[in-house]
């Protein structure tokens, strides 16, 4: 007879606790799946009417007349504006975000690093409507001289030339504001990634006689590349879908204008926001269709990011 009963090793191999927990977490995952599928299916269904009775080619049509008879509308203008503002935003925010993250992790003294990190994170808390408000009334007047400089000195590039001598409410300025909006995302995630670089690699490269920048190039950046791409992609995702700031800043002219320092342009999201209130029937259906296109573009962006991350997973050294 024993006072203690040893635990039974034989019997059911899965504890109830484990089974339940696994069930709950799986259920949560499936819920996410279902919700997303529902969104996609439902919205596609709702956009079909406008797609079916549209005349002309939806990709090249530069008009917006979904309620006309016959309806004629296309997304060319919207795609142009969406992509251009986002590209400009990334071109500015990714280098600055990564540079800031590097500074905080490898260059700054502890106290400055914490403060700067906190300040940059705080920028993420600023809502888009405030960016729009401030961008319109305070930032734009300051940035116009820079736009003028671009058209004066780099104006031989058609993209920077300006025929109207008007520089406000342009795609360029919207891109600048977008850059500021996605900067904290890029920086915060990059910082987390850099912080995870194992000290051993850093010391190994220093022990080989590397300067600090060489150490970063040798030990930090390669290890962090998937994470940095992920950071950039999350930033891009936010830029693509940003509605309110763009709606407030861009002067909503429905046309394609390659001269990005000139006013005017429209993005898919801003277009929906501005036109939804007064839209009905076919117009609303057309807006939903453009929303699905935007959704699809975002999908492609995310898939590409995922693919890049996975390709290098073998070399990433993470768990």
């Amino acid at each position: 007879m024993s006072l203690l009963t040893p635990p039974r090793i034989t019997g059911s191999s899965v504890r109830p606790g484990d089974r339940n927990f696994r069930f709950i977490t799986t259920g949560a995952g499936i819920t996410v799946l279902v919700v997303l599928a529902a969104i996609a299916a439902f919205l596609i269904w709702k956009s079909l009417p406008a797609l079916q009775n549209n005349t002309g080619n939806i990709f090249t049509n530069e008009q917006w007349l979904p309620d006309a008879d016959p309806p004629s509308w296309g997304i060319a203008v919207l795609i142009f504006g969406t992509i251009w503002t986002s590209v400009i935003a990334m071109a500015i925010a990714v280098p600055i975000g990564i540079g800031t993250a590097l500074y905080i992790t490898f260059y700054a003294p502890r106290r400055i690093a914490r403060t700067l990190g906190f300040i940059v994170d705080l920028l993420a808390a600023v809502p888009s409507i405030i960016f729009g408000l401030w961008g319109l009334y305070y930032f734009m007047p300051e940035i116009v001289p820079a736009a003028q400089w671009l058209s004066t000195y780099l104006g031989w590039l058609p993209i920077f030339s300006n025929d109207l001598d008007l520089y406000t409410k342009s795609i360029l300025i919207a891109g600048f504001v977008l850059a500021m909006m996605i900067l904290p995302t890029v920086s915060a995630i990059s910082r987390e990634v850099f912080w995870q670089v194992p000290k051993g690699h850093i010391e190994a490269s220093l022990a080989l006689g590397a300067t600090r920048w060489e150490m970063i190039r040798m030990a930090v950046l390669p290890f962090s590349r998937p994470g940095m791409i992920s950071a950039a992609m999350l930033g891009l995702g936010r830029a693509l879908g940003e509605t309110i700031a763009v709606a407030l800043i861009l002067s909503a002219v429905f046309e394609i204008n390659w001269q990005i320092t000139e006013p005017g342009g429209n993005s898919i999201a801003a277009n929906i926001a501005l036109k939804w209130g007064e839209a009905a029937g076919n117009g609303r259906s057309a807006l939903i269709a453009t929303g699905m296109v935007l959704f699809f573009i975002t999908l492609v962006v995310n898939m590409t990011a995922r693919w890049v991350v996975n390709r290098r997973r073998e070399f990433s050294g993470a768990n």
Partner: protein, 273 residues
């Protein structure tokens, strides 16, 4: 198998490769190590032994200025490499680390690089793309042979460096360190994370490397020190919260059979540590 030691002061033909002169190491205001005086002859192996926390790793890291990675760390005294003070104001720490290589306790090959790329990592810093492939190939083979790793990996040089076993990874790190032909090789408990067979392999390697490099190895394993080194330095704390000090240094056979200091004898015979 240690060569018959000659008395340190009578080594006529060679200067000391490394010399520590009144070296004290501080972290901020806290003195971690006090007043170390030590000479290391060229092409020899010296081991640092002592209980944990006695400062042996700290002293080791001060030799290639790695302790400066910790903010607030500084030294008093001098550390001489072939007679030149590496802490002099106009000395470039990057160059110091290029000439004094280091192998760490946990093997740390760069995970994003292949075996080949790992070995030439240090070299690429100097040349930045100017070197020819055949030169690099020669270096890779020389270094991997020098680390007794060539036969095992020569057919998979393009595989990730992190895919090797622990012992192989450590030998890869050694290959990487010797690829740049440093004058001194510092090893901070290089075998403590490895299995006994890999440990033996690395100890054999050290015997061979000794012909070309000056090696200082920190180890908490006294038998290893006895097997591997020509000279041994014993460090100890003078008391709780006190800085570490160098208690005794001398030829390994003497330290282990006839130590001059009572503390050394106590440590060797296992009365503490």
């Amino acid at each position: 198998m240690n060569p018959t030691p000659t008395k340190l002061q009578d080594s006529v033909e060679t200067k000391n490769r490394i010399e520590l002169e009144n070296l004290s190491i501080f972290y901020g205001d806290f003195m971690a190590v006090e007043d170390v005086n030590l000479q290391v002859r060229p092409q020899s192996v010296m081991s640092f032994i002592g209980p944990s926390g006695c400062g042996k790793s700290t002293v080791l890291r001060s030799i290639d200025r790695m302790h400066e990675v910790t903010p607030g760390a500084h030294i008093h005294g001098r550390v001489l490499l072939d007679g030149e003070d590496i802490y002099a104001p106009n000395v470039d720490p990057v160059l110091v680390r290029r000439m004094i290589g280091m192998v760490f306790q946990r093997p740390n090959p760069f995970p994003t690089m292949s075996i080949y790329e790992n070995v030439v990592a240090g070299m690429k810093l100097e040349k930045a793309g100017r070197s020819r492939k055949t030169d690099l190939d020669d270096v890779v083979e020389r270094s991997l042979r020098g680390a007794n790793l060539w036969e095992e990996v020569k057919d998979r040089l393009n595989r990730p460096g992190a895919g090797l076993s622990g012992g192989q990874q450590q030998r890869l790190c050694i290959a990487r360190a010797i690829a740049v032909q440093p004058e001194v090789l510092l090893m901070d408990e290089p075998c403590s994370a490895l299995d006994p067979i890999s440990t033996l392999a690395i100890e054999d390697l050290i015997h061979e490397l000794k012909n070309e490099y000056t090696i200082i190895i920190v180890t908490h394993n006294m038998q290893q020190a006895a097997r591997v080194s020509d000279e041994t330095a014993f460090f100890n704390l003078s008391g709780v919260g006190q800085p570490g000090r160098l208690i005794e240094v001398g030829p390994t056979t003497e330290i282990f059979s006839q130590p001059k200091n009572q503390q050394t004898e106590d440590y060797i015979s296992g009365r503490f540590g």
